[in-house]
């Protein structure tokens, strides 16, 4: 009898996930976004596209790191020749930098709005447009109702949205599927050569709906996210300490 109950519960949970828009990974369709172990944090172990992700960038350094991560994700999302929209009020992203992540910058359309109100409107309109690879918006404030509107828009169009929140004091609850924070980490060069190594970030998933929040360290190497091997990193630290 308890076994049967467990079955029922797990089936119900699967149903709930389905109703919430998380389709289980099909055997043939599982592509992954290339985030490696991080993807296990999401429901069904798949990076959810067609939803909205929230990324917290309190400082320009965070924004730069987030820009790097998003560029890496865009490489995957725009693989089929899609177009991406970047909506912002005070844009600082340098389009030429995207080329370093194998994203063609001319396939990114920047919408530079004057007012916060227009920003959310523009994002909602863009999210309704089927076939866009991704829509990224830099927002200071968003209410639960507003995020709900965006969520409804993507549920029909299956466009992936990213909200960059640059004011961490104004974080309310939103309908976003995950809340990220990307912090730059000191890079490591191979064999301790001088110079700067590959970009390395600490990726904190502060909140994941129906998933498991956690913290990961990734490096961007030759167009791939590579998890940082902690032991190796520790070893290098040890060596440094001995040397120092």
């Amino acid at each position: 009898m308890p076994v049967a109950k467990k079955d029922i519960i797990s089936r119900l949970q699967k149903d709930i996930l389905l109703w919430q828009g998380f389709t289980p990974a099909m055997a043939g369709k599982a592509k992954g976004i290339g985030l490696g172990p991080l993807e296990a944090a999401f429901p069904n172990g798949v990076f959810p596209t067609g939803t909205i992700h929230e990324m917290i960038c309190p400082t320009p350094e965070h924004t730069a790191a987030t820009g790097g991560l998003i560029s890496g994700l865009l490489t995957r999302l725009m693989k089929q020749g899609g177009v991406c929209l970047w909506v912002s009020m005070h844009r600082q992203l340098f389009p030429a930098a995207l080329a370093g992540y194998d994203v063609e910058p001319h396939r990114v359309i920047f919408i530079d709005v004057q007012r916060e109100k227009d920003l959310l409107w523009a994002m909602e309109e863009a999210l309704k447009c089927e076939g866009l690879a991704a829509v990224i918006a830099e927002v200071r404030e968003i209410s639960f109702a507003q995020s709900r509107r965006l969520q409804l828009a993507v549920e029909n169009s299956k466009v992936t949205g990213f909200l960059l929140r640059n004011d961490p004091r104004k974080l309310g609850s939103t309908t976003c599927v995950a809340r990220w924070q990307i912090t730059p980490l000191p890079s490591q060069t191979h064999d301790d050569l001088p110079g700067i190594g590959f970009p390395r970030w600490q990726i904190d998933l502060l909140r994941v709906r129906n998933g498991n929040p956690g913290s990961w360290k990734l490096e961007w190497i030759d167009g791939n996210f590579i998890p940082v091997e902690e032991e190796k990193a520790a070893q290098i630290n040890l060596q440094e300490r001995i040397a120092g």
Binding site: G100, F110, K128, C129, G195
Partner: protein, 502 residues
């Protein structure tokens, strides 16, 4: 071909009527407009009272004052008649779309196919004339097959104002030569020779008339008779692609305007679809009861004859349309149209859209119409090293990059619009600083790459070159710094921060 009909309206006292409307106290006074011509003050317009006492235009003001002692002489306003006629023409647009100002004191309306909407030609003309008279203008109107005949009958006709189709020749016969819109010199010569009516010379040989009175007389005669077509200088040239929607009742609600826009778009798009064309710009004009015209315009990135899409663009503009007492006429014009790229049937629905996708173009149209086309940017690579100039804005959505994007040099994710000065400690020449202070925070540099020297484009601006360093501080935050100019001991070049790396 449809039989053409024209109305000529003659404002007998255009300027003075207008002046009386503005200054009612002049209603009971004889007054004239006058302007100096070669040292003499000549009368350019008179009102009815002055005219009744024998004052006519072309007199000198002094002579007129001798006739009427208390005659008021008002300075002529240059260009006022033109302005008034244009305004009256705009008002008349409710009767016909084809209206021409007929200087100095008339209007010409091409009313082909309009009269039946008002229940016949007599009612139509009566409606126009009574409405204008009730506004306060002393107006005479006549209707004929040609503008010339209508003009003549409006000014010189004595029997009936409506000349039935094909009878303009009979109507012209008893009229005097000035009814043919001739030069004063020709009129004088005709009168000298005793031609007091058109009848007396109409039957004469053309070569004789040409030799005596010039080509102009023949042309005017032919125009009045309808042998030669007379094009009108229309106030509103008809756009080849335009639709009209007159309303029985004035429209005052947003829903009403929506329905009107939809109806117009359906008509326009149906035609465009047939011709394989699409709208690039469209203007909606709403003629209000109070005489004002309000308009809204839209533009598209790609030619479109998609009704829903165009309606969505107009929908954003509806709140700006102020109907006031009501709108009685809507017109929709498409001044700019383009061929529509025929949409190919898609065999395999691709998962995402490219830059040439219709959905994307429609999305950008909506954004451009709401927040301005200037807020949409796309960048193409430019073969220049100077970071600020390494990208250029794309002109159109279809513009392709001429060169490929450079990937060999590291470029920061965030580039500051202007490099910000920083304080540094840099002991060794050609080395990055040990630490730098930016926004009151000290960053100890642990790792660095560089320098990458970028020379200024001397043909554009003068100044020092930049030596860029990619640096990483104690917390792993990566920056793009540069020194302006060479390292030169204590007077070393200023350091700047220019970007943030991922």
């Amino acid at each position: 071909m449809m039989n053409k009909r024209f109305i000529s309206l003659w404002f007998r006292h255009l300027l003075t009527d207008w002046f009386t409307l503005r200054r009612p106290e002049f209603k009971a006074l004889p007054f004239v407009f006058a302007s100096p011509v070669r040292g003499r003050v000549m009368i350019t317009a008179t009102n009815e009272l002055a005219e009744a006492q024998g004052v006519t235009t072309g007199m000198t003001a002094a002579d007129a004052k001798a006739i009427i002692v208390d005659l008021q002489v008002i300075d002529d306003i240059p260009g006022q008649a033109d302005k008034l006629l244009k305004a009256l023409g705009e008002w008349c647009i409710r009767y016909s779309p084809l209206i021409a100002a007929d200087l100095p004191d008339g209007l010409l309306l091409d009313i082909s196919g309009c009269a039946h909407l008002w229940g016949g030609e007599r009612e139509y003309l009566k409606e126009i004339v009574t409405r204008l008279r009730s506004k306060g203008y002393d107006v005479r109107g006549a209707m004929a097959d040609t503008p010339g005949a209508a003009w003549a009958v409006a000014r010189f006709g004595k029997v009936k104002p409506i000349i039935p189709p094909g009878e303009q020749a009979d109507a012209l016969l008893p009229l005097p030569p000035p009814a043919l819109r001739l030069e004063p010199l020709v009129i004088e010569r005709l009168q000298k020779l005793g031609f007091y009516t058109i009848k007396t010379f109409m039957g004469m040989g053309r070569s004789v008339l040409r030799r005596r009175f010039g080509q102009e007389l023949l042309l005017r005669l032919d125009q009045a008779l309808g042998n030669v077509d007379e094009p009108l200088q229309l106030l509103h040239p008809i756009e080849p692609y335009s639709e009209r929607l007159p309303c029985l009742e004035p429209i005052r609600t947003a829903t009403g305007i929506e329905i009107a826009i939809k109806t117009l778009l359906e008509k326009l798009c149906h035609r465009l679809q047939g011709e394989g064309k699409g709208v690039r710009t469209a203007i909606l004009k709403c003629y209000r009861v109070d005489g004002h015209v309000i308009s809204a315009d839209i533009g598209t990135n790609r030619a479109s004859h998609h009704i829903d899409h165009l309606f969505k663009l107009f929908e954003l503009k509806i709140p700006t349309l102020e109907p006031a007492l009501g709108i009685e006429l809507f017109t929709l014009e498409a001044p700019k149209i383009d061929d529509v790229d025929p949409e190919q049937e898609v065999l395999w629905q691709s998962e995402s859209c490219g830059l040439d996708d219709t959905d994307l173009a429609e999305l950008l149209d909506r954004l451009a119409n709401k927040i301005g086309a200037g807020s949409i940017h796309r960048y193409l690579p430019q073969e220049r090293y100077w970071p600020e100039r390494s990208i250029k804005p794309a002109i159109s959505i279809n513009e392709k990059p001429q060169t490929s994007w450079r990937k060999d040099r590291p470029r920061p994710s965030i580039l500051l619009p202007r490099p910000q000065p920083i304080e540094v400690t840099s002991p060794i020449p050609d080395y990055p600083p040990m630490l730098f202070i930016y926004k009151n925070e000290t960053h100890h540099i642990k790792r660095s790459d560089g320098p990458e020297r970028i020379e200024r484009e001397w043909w554009l601006d003068e100044g020092e070159h930049r030596d860029y360093y990619q640096v990483e501080d104690q917390d792993g935050r990566r920056y793009w710094l540069f020194r302006s100019g060479h390292y030169a001991g204590s007077q070393s070049g200023q350091w700047f921060i220019h970007g943030f790396f991922a």
